[in-house]
Symmetry: C2
Subunit: 426 residues, 2 copies
């Protein structure tokens, strides 16, 4: 029986049953399952790539823009990398079963909190088929079942990948229902998933702001919002006194903006202390040479134009905007407090100060309320791999449950364990 | 200016500004603020009790049932206890500022996670005016601003309590907008609060299942659902072989059901191993003597009737039901696995095994996926004070963010702090 004949609720019930098996699974069996997944992906490479080629051809025929077609395309090398990533997840420490806060209380009971899987995850994403396998691997390693809802352009690729994962699970005597793709791309099916709050423990959207908003507006399952946000770098005057620091600032700001402009941790707005304006042309020239369009407020624009660096006047909408492209806005501020007020109004994702003044660095770290606050480091470090989590399922920009990159531990919760000997409450 | 002339959005904006002050406040200033609150409550006792007496009179005139009128009534002693509770919160450890996971990564950056307040909380509750002060104290001590929406029967009491808290904050040069009561009891105002997701970080409902469901259905702010759930005790045969154990089981089950039947951690369903049925009459007689109505399945009913203990036949709806009253259901099971299947279908809050078999205890602890799992202890221990948290704002029965009693730490989140020296991502 294929999953196509089942309702989303049926899939949820099967996931719930599978989750009960997964949650008590020893680490070694989860590792073995992931190795089986990697093997199955390699063994089925020809079929998976053929299914993907059909998706790509259909997308091209439908006139999908080339950069979107690129995102859904797999080849032998990218499929091999996906399989290797599954094996990398299998090498991560298993967070499940850890006990914290063990103590005996005055009543005599012994208590602790045991780390356990969330249960059933719902992950909604757009065109990249690698997400299907990445998320399945992270869910399995953390003991969770998962319902996956990918983009309509990748239905064939996702079905082939799901078949591989499920065959691998079955080969290990594990419930194949631990990983299920909702194959019907109709939006109504996604809505059913979002409202399955008696069966699904968390929804993790991966995609643009519109997808996140749709989930927040429509879900009764708790949603973890992430990956959306404005990234600021505040350049203090103290970081521009030494020419070597100006060169460092230019390199760091280039890294922040140019390395991957489409990433959520790429620079959006550069805040420049008035005293740092003389260093701005060197930094901006470097950005412009890498194709970055700059939109500056009047003092910054004047400094740039005087130095012959091309820039446009910024409008109000250039601030608080996530560009996801080779565009950055620049704003002049009179001091740290003005920068902090600006970030308090517009920031939530990653905010950086470049300073040589430890007191300013400390004030910045204390005051800025974003998922990541950095001193003299590129915002591109706000990433699960870069922060030492090994892998990430998403970057949360909300405050409940998880904030910043979500690795295996962020796919778990705790339960209280109380041990007594007939103890009653006084 | 009173808050009555402001929209809920205005209140949210003011709360957000206040939260920015609170989040960096040293512990000593938060402690001083709470002591000021306690002093102000005592100084204003006459006025607060007069306002409360008007609420009570209006509720009686409106024909509110006596047990609901009781819940909104304050007197000198209960107001003094509320003030003392505020001082108790001031003695709890401040979770804010703690740094965990400090390490240097291969790239050279140093990272840690810093514990910070959530920001702005929205708490929606029903008739008890003590919640107004309890929640305000927990929010302030954890560095959060809070928007409070109480029941329409307590509008006068809550206004008087809010005035006391805000006067105390102002006396300490702190923003009074840290604690704001939505004074307009119209449901539209609550809906505005539930959808204020750009300003409010979490909604915590405290009340019945209907209120929780309304929040889940309508909120775009993340909601922490709690306090709703079915409590099971599974009585294994091994706990009934020794008459002293039978007496212990009877005492524990009485504690679980009778101590506070209206509490969410009170027993709902007793699962009895077939081998433990001979001990059931002694246990049930004790419950019946304390006024508990018993609804039993056929094997248990037969055992009770043979021993002359009054009980009714259970219907399907007596299982998976939270009674919140002196009623309990009883179900006979053939063994641990059947009990676990039953709990997997109906449980999520607090589940207890009474057993002398360590292997069964271990299997129960591993398999049961509830906020609290207990061995040989009363489910009444699932409470913030009893589990060592000092105080609780609610008991979460969801899995995201917090599970079980929520104390000060559960009103916080973390932010990543990254320290570099011009580090860029490779």
């Amino acid at each position: 029986m294929t999953t196509e004949t089942l309702t989303v609720r049926d899939l949820g019930l099967r996931a719930r049953a599978a989750a009960r098996v997964l949650r008590s699974l020893p680490t070694a069996r989860k590792v073995a399952a992931l190795h089986a997944v990697a093997r199955e992906l390699r063994a089925r490479a020809t079929g998976i790539l053929a299914a993907n080629a059909r998706d790509v051809a259909a997308a091209e025929a439908a006139g999908l823009p080339a950069h979107m077609v690129d995102r859904l395309r797999l080849n032998a090398a990218s499929l091999a990398a996906i399989a290797a990533d599954v094996e990398a997840v299998a090498r991560l420490p298993d967070p499940v079963g850890e006990r914290t806060g063990e103590k005996q209380l005055p009543s005599g009971i012994r208590v602790s909190q045991m780390r356990v899987p969330l249960g059933v995850l719902g992950v909604i994403y757009e065109s990249r088929p690698n997400v299907t396998v990445d998320v399945a691997a992270l869910a399995l390693m953390s003991g969770n079942a998962v319902l996956l809802r990918g983009g309509k352009e990748t239905v064939g690729s996702n079905a082939a990948l799901e078949d591989a994962v499920r065959a691998a699970l079955a080969s290990q005597d594990l419930p194949a229902e631990a990983v299920q793709v909702i194959r019907d791309p109709a939006r109504e099916r996604m809505l059913e998933l979002l409202r399955l709050d008696d069966l699904v423990d968390a929804i993790i959207p991966r995609g643009g702001a519109g997808l996140h908003r749709y989930c927040v507006e429509n879900a009764t399952v708790p949603v973890i919002v992430g990956g959306i946000g404005v990234v600021h770098i505040y350049l203090d005057g103290s970081f521009t006194r030494d020419p070597a620091d100006v060169a460092r600032a230019a390199e760091l700001i280039r890294n922040a903006k140019v390395q991957k402009p489409s990433a959520c941790n790429a620079l959006d707005t550069l805040l420049v202390h008035r005293e740092a304006l003389p260093a701005l042309p060197a930094i901006a020239r470097d950005l412009a040479a890498h194709g970055v369009t700059l939109r500056a407020d009047p003092p910054a624009l004047a400094a740039l134009q005087a130095a012959g660096v091309e820039a446009q006047p910024a409008t109000a909408s250039d601030y608080g905007t996530e560009f996801l492209a080779l565009t950055a806005s620049i704003r002049t501020v009179g001091g740290l407090e003005e920068a902090l007020d600006f970030i308090a109004a517009h920031g939530n994702h990653t905010d950086v100060i470049l300073t040589r003044d430890p007191a300013q660095a400390e004030r910045f770290v204390q005051d800025v309320d974003s998922a990541a606050v950095m001193v003299n480091a590129s915002p591109r470090f706000n990433d699960g791999g870069q922060l030492g989590l090994g892998a990430e399922v998403a970057i949360s920009t909300q405050k409940l449950h998880a904030r910043g990159p979500m690795g295996l531990a962020e796919l778990t919760t705790t339960k209280w364990v109380v041990m007594g000997d007939g103890h009653i409450r006084a």
